[in-house]
C-alpha cells in the first residue's frame, strides 16, 4: 500500500519533522514544496530517522516540488516537468504503477484567478499527455494548488475537473461544448470546515478583505477514477501532530512550523 505525504515547508528547515512523519506513517513517496533545506540534507535526516534510504532522482528538473522515494531507482521514470508541475511514473516492486503528479501552483499573491486557471489548463493538458505516454490513468495528483477545491481552477471542466462525488467521477468523462473532459475525484471536498474530520483546512490566512475564508484547503489530493478502487475513506488525512508535538495551537496553525499542514494518502494498489 503506497503511502504518499505532501508538505509545503514554507522555506523552513523542518527536515527533522518531515523525517519523523515519514517514520511514523511509513511513507513511501514524499513530496515537498518550498523546502528549507537541500535534498541531500533531507535525505540524510530521512535515513537517520527511518533507517531506510530515500532516493531523490531527477529533482534538478522540477522547479517547485521535490520528490523523495523509498523505492529502488529503476522504479522511478521521468515523465514531464513544467512550471509548478512535475510528473513521474512510479513502478513499485510490488503492485500497480502510478502516475504521480506533484504540484505547487502560483500563490494568489502573484497570480489572479484567471492566471491560476490558465496554469491549471496547461497542467491538465500536460497530465493528459502523460497519461497517454504511460498508457494508463492511475493518476495521483498531490500538492499545493494555492486554490480551494471549489475554485474554478479546480472544478472547471477545462481545468482539473475535480468533483466531490466518487459516483460522478466514476462516469469517467463528460462532453462539454463538444470536448470530452475527464474527471478527477477530489476527496479533499470532505475535509472542508470544522464539521469534517481533522482541522477545518490546511492553510490559515487572515486579511482585512471583504471576502475571507480564513481556513483554506490549498493542499489537496486528486485521483482519477481508475484509482478509486484503491482508495477508502479514512486513508486521506490532514496531519496535525508529530509524536507529541502539535502542529496547531489554539485552533490555528502553529508559527513554530510551516504555515501549511501536511497531508497524507494511502492507496491499496499493492
Amino acid at each position: 500500500m503506497p503511502i504518499a505525504l505532501f508538505w509545503n515547508l514554507n522555506r523552513k528547515a523542518l527536515g527533522r519533522e518531515v523525517a519523523q512523519l515519514c517514520k511514523i506513517h511509513n511513507v513511501d513517496i514524499l513530496v515537498i514544496a518550498e523546502a528549507g533545506l537541500p535534498d541531500v540534507a533531507l535525505q540524510h535526516l530521512l535515513s537517520q530517522e527511518t533507517k531506510t534510504t530515500y532516493i531523490a532522482p531527477f529533482n534538478e528538473f522540477s522547479s517547485r516540488v521535490k520528490f523523495f522515494f523509498r523505492y529502488p531507482p529503476e522504479s522511478i521514470r521521468l515523465v514531464a516537468d513544467s512550471y509548478g508541475l512535475s510528473i513521474r511514473e512510479v513502478r513499485p516492486p510490488i503492485g500497480e504503477s502510478l502516475l504521480l503528479v506533484g504540484v505547487h501552483l502560483s500563490s494568489k499573491l502573484y497570480a489572479d484567478r484567471n492566471e491560476q486557471s490558465a496554469q491549471a489548463r496547461l497542467a491538465i493538458c500536460t497530465i493528459a499527455e502523460a497519461e497517454q505516454s504511460v498508457g494508463h490513468k492511475r493518476t495521483l495528483i498531490i500538492g499545493d494548488f494555492n486554490m480551494n477545491p471549489f475554485e474554478g481552477g479546480l472544478v472547471d471542466a477545462d481545468t482539473f475537473y475535480g468533483v466531490m462525488d466518487q459516483s460522478i467521477a466514476k462516469e469517467n468523462m463528460r462532453t462539454v461544448r463538444q470536448v470530452e473532459r475527464r474527471f478527477f475525484y477530489n476527496p479533499m471536498w470532505g475535509k472542508l470546515g470544522d464539521s469534517s474530520e481533522g482541522p477545518p483546512g490546511t492553510y490559515y490566512y487572515k486579511s482585512s478583505k471583504n471576502r475571507e475564508f480564513f481556513w483554506n484547503t490549498f493542499d489537496q489530493v486528486l485521483i482519477r477514477p481508475e484509482l478509486i478502487p484503491f482508495y477508502q475513506e479514512g486513508l486521506l488525512k490532514v496531519l496535525t501532530e508529530i509524536y507529541d508535538t502539535q502542529l496547531m495551537t489554539d485552533g490555528k496553525i502553529s508559527n513554530d512550523f510551516s504555515d501549511h499542514l501536511p497531508i497524507m494518502i494511502k492507496l491499496a494498489t499493492e
Partner: protein, 136 residues
C-alpha cells in the same frame, strides 16, 4: 447588371504577412532539434487560452527518455497578434507582455539562453548519453 467592384481595398499578399509568434516559437524548437541531432526535440503544442485567442507552449521532448517532456515557455496572443504575453515556465514564473516582434524575440532569447534552460539541456543530454551507453 452592373460590374462588381471590390470594396475590400488592398488585400495583403502572402509575402506581406507578419510572422506569427507561434511560427517563431516553432523555428526556435527546430533549432534545438537540429543542434542536438534530434536527441532533444523542440516542439510546440497549441493549448487553450480563455483570455487570449491563441496560445502555444514550447517544450523539449526527449525521445530516448520515454518521450519525457519539459515545458519551457508559453505564449498567448490575440487575433491581431500583438501584444504577445510570454510566460517563462522554467523557474520563477514571470509574464512579459511584448508589444512587437522585436520585444517578443528579445524576451524569448532571455528565456532560451538562461542559465536554467542551459542547465536543463545539459542534464537532459547527459541522461540521453547515459541511456545510450546502457543500451550499447
Amino acid at each position: 447588371m452592373s460590374e462588381i467592384k471590390s470594396l475590400w481595398g488592398e488585400i495583403p499578399t502572402s509575402t506581406d504577412l507578419p510572422d506569427l509568434p507561434n511560427k517563431i516559437l516553432k523555428e526556435q524548437g527546430a533549432w534545438l532539434t537540429e543542434a542536438t541531432d534530434g536527441s532533444l526535440i523542440g516542439e510546440t503544442m497549441l493549448s487553450n487560452s480563455q483570455e487570449q485567442n491563441f496560445a502555444a507552449t514550447l517544450r523539449i521532448k526527449v525521445p530516448s527518455l520515454n518521450s519525457y517532456v519539459y515545458n519551457v515557455v508559453q505564449i498567448s496572443y490575440p487575433i491581431n497578434i500583438y501584444p504577445v504575453t510570454v510566460s517563462n515556465l522554467t523557474e520563477t514564473k514571470s509574464k512579459v507582455v511584448c508589444k512587437d516582434v522585436e520585444e517578443y524575440k528579445q524576451t524569448l532569447k532571455q528565456i532560451l539562453s538562461s542559465d536554467k534552460v542551459k542547465a536543463v539541456i545539459t542534464a537532459l543530454l547527459a541522461q540521453v548519453s547515459a541511456q545510450a551507453v546502457v543500451e550499447v
